[in-house]
Symmetry: C2
Subunit: 397 residues, 2 copies
């Protein structure tokens, strides 16, 4: 009886909290300056975003009993006489957010939004226009190309899929270029940096302002850490599908497989040789960088530390950092690592520890840079900004 | 009273027809050899396809009252104890079909399928594996690149988006190549040929078998003919949004705007010069082709006939044909048009008339070829096959 009483009390408490939240949501009427989101499908009026960063949805579902969205603390959706349900979110951070609709228990994409690969699926996302969006805007400047390539990987015996950004001058020049290998996060794939990351426009704009040296960017599928879960579309079986250490996870939550050795082989044994043979790279360690976000940052740390003969510039975005204890041979590291760049969103856990590690590397004489994205969490706005800060520091020495 | 009686009789007749169809569907149990469709998102078990070409859907929607799919004559969806709805289609033609789910009146994409741009939106589609799918399969052969490009169009004052396929040898050679300008259909966009059309793999495979000459393919957005309707994603405003002749259409049906002059300007004044300046093309009339499917075929006819100084090879897939009456100056046409290729799916209206027109052109001394895709309608399997037949005939003379 006693545990049941406790449960009941807890439920009542939850009810009170929920009621307070609902009252707050209802009394704080959203600002009425809604504009269609830039992440909408062409011609679609909804979702809309207002100056508070709230998102308003309109979903035609005349026979539905309930409609909702995966953003926590959203207003209850209400149905109008036209059969369309309207609901809106709390104010969201600037930038890009994945979401899913729920229509009578069915988790479905919003037919109004563009679709992106993330959170382990192709689905909806919404863009809250950020104050600094100019640096990744499409402008009338010379544009590089985002090239979809297929190549055969001996180490995994599969046809593999990647994207390569080549700078605007690439086809007209006969020069060779440095290369950055740039990785996505867990539940994302090789499309992430080119689509929601806007890596191409970030580089095009930096180059137009002469703020970076031209280099190529290679974006491959780094594997799916959701053991037994879905793998990305149009992609070969996950590179990490071999044996590995599964992180402990609560029942019902995804289990992560953060063994990167299969991807390490693909990258080092297949992809880099393919890129060096098929693109005009400067195929040496001083002109090769690796960076990644979240899981891609962890991969970057693991793989660059194991292959300092291959990589000179290292970028870890929201994916931990490199501490003194990670470096087994400091004189060798000092000689080979020309840059260690670490970044976090200011709202993320881990920012303080990463900053301290960067400071320790600096004191040890390593060219190390810490960047913190203001007012963002573990999301793409942090990583767009990180690439924008990282690129100008590359291949300077 | 009398019209009402007629209506009632008609409704009863419809009911009888519907009942017969339902009985037929119920008594003809589908073959139980379901396999996950190749168009599914990675790791998704459903939709499944059986040997009859039926598609079986499984949609988790525990609180829904009704679930359906846009394929006509599908079985009624039924809900299992697990909250998942199961339903299946009639046998469909081989190849690629767009569809939409309906959950309690909401038209939404299937969260299990990959998403494609067609029918005026990004949404679901399913692939029924075709007997001849080998010609557009991903193989371990040298692959060309599908390059996403952005360029500024003076004639439309917009940043425009296109895709360019370059053959496998392109980057390693210093040769120049012919170019094919290849257009999508109405309600589709510049992504169609590269994604659902598999244009790249078709060319890669033909080249590996030495069945075609290498050439580049340029795929641009040819405009959205749905006047006032949606326009494709990531694209500039529709090139055809200017004044034009709206085809008469029944109320409630989309009105088409088939004035191609804005796109004609973009293509001739902006895109071709950009491609010739930025890719290693053989920039002359004998080495430039244009083709398209459906609306893209109509554009091809209109634009090539108006610009025979620019195009020598013409392909019209499921988009009408070129009749003797379309040609105002036969000696000039004979001199300049090196190939007129016309194709249809065997299930399409228009096939017979097109075949007769091709025969008339042949008799007038024009190198004209008719191709009919067996057992397909106005869909991508007809157009994949058409490209596969058309490519080997290009730039031979």
């Amino acid at each position: 009886m006693f545990p049941n009483l406790l449960s009941s009390l807890a439920l009542i408490a939850c009810g009170i909290v929920l009621s307070i939240q609902l009252i707050a949501a209802q009394t704080n009427e959203p600002a009425n300056d809604w504009k269609s989101a830039p992440s909408n499908q062409g011609g679609k009026e909804y979702p809309q975003v207002n100056s508070e960063g709230r998102v308003k949805f309109r979903i035609v579902a005349p026979k539905a009993e309930s409609v909702g969205v995966s953003f926590r603390d959203s207003s209850p959706f209400t149905k109008g006489a036209d059969g369309a349900w309207i609901g809106y979110t709390r104010p969201l951070d600037e930038g890009f957010h994945y979401y899913t609709l729920n229509i009578d228990g069915a988790e479905v994409p919003d037919p109004n939004s563009l679709f992106f690969y993330g959170a382990g699926r192709w689905g909806s996302a919404v863009e809250i226009p950020a104050r600094d969006r100019d640096f990744y805007a499409l402008k009338n400047v010379p544009h590089g190309q985002l090239r979809e390539i297929w190549y055969f990987s001996e180490s995994s015996n599969t046809n593999r899929h990647a994207f390569v950004y080549t700078p605007p001058e690439y086809d007209k020049s006969r020069k060779r270029y440095p290369a950055l290998y740039l990785q996505h996060g867990a539940g994302e794939d090789e499309t992430g940096w080119g689509q929601q990351g806007h890596a191409g426009w970030i580089l095009d704009n930096l180059l137009a302002e002469e703020k970076t040296r031209p280099f190529i960017i290679v974006m491959e599928f780094g594997g799916n850490p959701f053991a037994g879960g879905p793998r990305p579309t149009n992609s070969p079986p996950a590179a990490t599908s071999g044996t590995g250490t599964n992180n402990a996870a609560a029942p019902g939550r995804p289990r992560f497989n953060f063994n990167f050795s299969a991807f390490e082989h693909v990258l080092v044994d297949d992809l880099i040789p393919y890129i060096d043979a098929n693109f005009r790279t400067i195929a040496d360690q001083p002109h090769r960088a690796m960076a990644g976000l979240s899981m891609g940052g962890m991969q970057t740390r693991t793989i660059t530390l194991a292959h300092l003969d291959k990589f000179s510039h290292i970028g870890v975005f929201s994916g931990g950092s490199i501490g003194l204890t990670n470096i087994t041979d400091m004189p060798a590291f000092k000689k080979k690592a020309k840059l260690v760049f670490v970044s976090y969103g200011s709202k993320e856990n881990g920012a303080a520890a990463a900053k301290a590690n960067v400071q320790a590397l600096k004191e040890a004489g390593i060219n190390s840079v810490y960047y913190e994205s203001p007012d963002t969490a573990h999301e793409w706005q942090s990583w767009r900004r990180s690439l924008h800060e990282f690129a100008p520091l590359l291949f300077r020495n």
